[in-house]
Amino acid sequence: MAPQAAAGTAGPSPAPGGAATAVAPAPSNVQDVPHAATPPGPLDAGLLAAARDAVLGEAGRLGCAHAELRAERIRSQQARLRDGRLEGAADDTEVGLGVRVVVDGAMGFAATVAMTTDEAAALVRKAVDAARVIARAGGVPVELADEPGHGALTWASPYRIDPVDVPLSDKVGLLADWSGRLLSDDGVDHVTAEVLAVTEDTFYADLSGTEATQRRVRVHPVVEALALDPDGGFETMRTVAPPVGRGWEYLEGDGWDWDAELVELPGLLAAKVRAPSVDAGDYDLVIDPTNLWLTVHESIGHATELDRALGYEAAYAGTSFATFDQLGSLQYGSGVLHVTGDRTTAHGLATVGIDDEGVPGQSFDLVRDGVLVGYQLDRSIAASSGLGASNGCAFADSPLHVPIQRMANVSLQPADGDGPTTDELIGGVDHGLYIVGDKSWSIDMQRYNFQFTGQRFFRIEHGRLAGQVRDVAYQATTTDFWGAMEAVGGRSTYLLGGAFNCGKGQPGQVAPVSHGCPAVLVRGIRILNTRQESGR
């Protein structure tokens, strides 16, 4: 399952509501440190050390082959404005302890929000009891792929201003200013503006001797303008700025030119309102990374999760057409399709120092020269598939949830050297569409059939843009779509898109994840007219 937003230029622009506080350290890689890690931020070092000793000691006494403790504090703030007025805000801090064990070939997990040493030790007993009770249902013994201890590590995602520390009044002030700029245009009837900011502190310790403290920071601002159509109905136009692993400085222009994006929205919206409805049929598409990241996410990111391919998500998220027996042989797309997974990209939403099973962040190939060559793995899936070690894709969205295999930053690589620009890709199309920004998305449970809409659709006639059309959706089967990809743009077209809300697992978990991709040229894709689809 998955998400929302993403194009890009950069350039600082001071935020009117501005003055943020708090400066945090910004090392961007795992570091070996000589002593036990110091918990970042508000997690209490004394409590964590005591909880660690209690959990690992109790697990040892109970004969656990594996035990891990996660202690987390996840701070989040959200502010939402409607037509420039504050509609709702929330300031949330989630805390808790989660313990997972493997004992007698069975797995158990228990968690609590009570942050005491006694409760930590009790979690081990609960998890062991659960493992033994549930094992009676029968089945296959659980095994985790070997992972060496990595000692004490600290890591933090790079940021300048902790977004959660920025006062709500500053957040509201900035969003109100942005809303006001759009509402001052006669063609805009309504504006919604929202920002979600998260600062996540995690402490991890396991029986193998890995002990990690990490901080991840992320923000997602979104602004949408709406115009009522005088003939009935309405159209919207939303910012395409992606969510990022950055601090509040992102909203001040570090990594995105908000002034430039906001100033163009009313004009784009007005043109969309006036635009003709698209003629359904097959089109050549140039797809901007602000739209394509979501197609990558759904049709490649999820399809190359090995837990899905092996059937472990059959009851919920689904399985995958990219079955394990096709590793090394499945022709996923054309020869220009090169897709990587990583948990190392700067500002990536899935980037970590170490994952929730004690495996360091790393990068790897998933599709090379159009052929499936790899999967995303956690330790149990790595063991059961015989692929050896995990590549670090375990994640739990909360201290109260068990870690499962979650998506790395899965990215489509751009053309080598001076690859084509977006204009050059458009120049190669006689009759087609240029698609910018994501909107609606849906894909089947084996990741074959997908349908996506977007924020804006420009006709391409004889290699040039020729105004917008509306009511557009594109629909395809995954391998047909990527097989029809004739060209990928160069690095100048590349952008890291993503979402905060990728869903998977039962009970449901949401994960933040980024997807980099260039603009691409895909030939002969089916375009639907969504008004006709609704029978109108």
Binding site: A89, A90, D92, E94, V113, F234, R526
Partner: protein
């Protein structure tokens, strides 16, 4: 401190209100206590499991500011530092502009009808543990064995959750409600994954669900799949089972916000301004309602809100909820409003209620009865990955999942491929040509958010299957 390392919820409420009262112009405290346990299985083996004890404490602080009353909301997990939490809420209130949804806090006298909820406030939170799932776990062992010998593979999920919500306000309201929830889902995949079928049920305590009965249903449906019949995209006569209707109606109910409709941005907006309340949506006399006292689907009898939105307000915490008829006799009757919005629009407030019932009074008949009356059509199992394509028409896209069965001359003759559909639930109500008896049904996709649904099967004569999905 209680046995689980947390202070009693009532004392947290009292402490927070005491900390807030001196400088504030109103305060609301919510303590949500959750106990949860689950087990997951796939490939004929158990996989992950978990048990957890959660607590979230929300403080809403109100403060007079220039131009009106502002609100600050802070939420913390665990054994919270009440002074820090109240301080955070008050800081946000002091720094916020006047709120748009201001109403007087609900008075204790207004909540007087909620005597059970008032009494519940004095009790401890509910708790669940693995013993609730003992029958399921016992049943699984046999189910795995039968699957192995039957050449199919079982996957699924069982969860039990007890949420107890405590509410206290500076207006003297003290209420609580315990919220038992659970669900059992089972998927069977045969022929190496070429066929798949599903069954799911919501349950408060697992005494009314049977893994054996679900297995029987799955096996009979796998047998239907023995004959594979390819069908192209197009419009088909379709029997939508209650599980599919439940997901579509929950989507429709979520979209029934009054403010969005008035702003011209929903399917319930009237072109040119206003809402479509009063419009006939269907010639069939459908009733769509929510009611906290709906037999078998009981849910929170008072409103709780941890943040404000277009149609839900933190000022309305404690507001008694009652039967709300969203659609009555096929006519759009109500939309969701908080009290402030309702007052502005001259309508009655209507809060979110976590159950949905769709029915046509007097309608009878089951899915099986409808199959028997079908000359040529498709019977679906459930829908998946449902997303909004066009809010103006509430056009949704999604997939059929876990079995599309071909019906000819009153019986199932085989299984077809899956499809992607594009349809609006509002349009489907208008086009339905047959409606069965409403039954409790678990939506495959949205059941995890809202599983108290009672809906009928529907016959749609021209359901839009936009393209074929190769997924099985």
């Amino acid at each position: 401190m209680s046995a689980d390392g947390l202070a009693p919820a009532q004392s947290v409420v009292d402490e927070a209100l005491a900390a807030a009262l001196p400088g504030s112009d109103g305060c609301v405290v919510l303590v949500e206590e959750t106990s949860e346990v689950e087990v997951r299985f796939a490939n004929n083996t158990t996989t992950t499991n978990g048990s957890r004890r959660d607590r979230r404490v929300t403080v809403v602080s109100m403060r007079e500011v220039d131009g009106g009353r502002a609100v600050g909301v802070a939420r913390r997990g665990g054994d919270v530092d009440v002074a820090e939490l109240v301080g955070a809420a008050e800081l946000d209130a002091a720094g916020s502009p006047p709120a748009d949804d201001v109403s007087p806090l609900v008075q204790a006298s207004e909540a007087a009808s909620l005597s059970d909820a008032a009494a519940r406030f004095e009790s401890s939170p509910d708790h669940t543990d693995l013993s609730v799932l003992s029958e399921v776990l016992a049943g699984l062992s046999g189910a795995f064995s039968r699957a192995r010998s039957g050449d199919y593979v079982i996957a699924g999920f069982a969860e039990s959750r007890r949420t107890t919500t405590y509410l206290g306000t500076s207006a003297g309201v003290r209420l609580a409600h315990a919220h038992p929830e659970g669900a059992l889902q089972l998927v069977a995949r045969g022929s190496g994954g070429a066929t798949s079928t599903w069954a799911g049920a919501g349950t408060p305590d697992f005494t009314d669900v049977s893994i054996g009965e679900m297995e029987d249903r799955l096996r009979s449906r796998l047998a239907w799949s023995a004959a594979r019949l390819e069908r192209p995209a197009g419009r088909y006569e379709v029997i939508l089972p209650p599980e599919a209707v439940a997901d579509l109606m929950v989507n429709l109910a979520f979209e029934a916000g009054g403010r969005d409709a008035e702003d011209g941005k929903s399917v319930f907006s009237r072109p040119g301004g206003g809402t479509r309340v009063g419009d006939v949506l269907s010639a069939t006399p459908f009733d769509l309602r929510s009611d906290p006292r709906e037999p078998g689907l009981e849910c929170d009898p008072f409103l709780t809100a941890t943040s404000s939105s277009a149609d839900t307000s933190v000022f309305d915490n404690g507001l008694p909820l009652g039967r709300t008829d969203w659609i009555a006799g096929g006519r759009l009757n109500r939309l969701r409003y908080h009290r402030a919005g309702a007052a502005r629009s001259g309508v009655d407030p209507a809060g979110f209620i976590s159950n949905v019932v769709l029915e046509v009074p007097g309608a009878t008949g089951s899915v099986e009865d409808m199959v028997a009356r079908t000359e040529r059509g498709l019977l679906l199992t459930c829908l998946w990955y449902i997303r909004e394509v066009d809010p103006e028409t509430l056009l949704l896209t999604g997939l059929t999942r876990d079995g599309v069965y071909v019906v000819e001359d009153g019986r199932v003759v085989g299984a077809a491929n899956n499809f992607r559909f594009n349809e609006s639930p509002v349009d489907l109500l208008a086009r339905a040509t047959e409606v069965g008896a409403s039954v409790r049904a678990f939506g495959r996709e949205f059941g995890e958010y809202l599983n108290r649904t009672r809906v009928p099967p529907l016959r749609i004569p021209d359901f839009n299957m936009s393209s074929v999905s190769q997924a099985s």
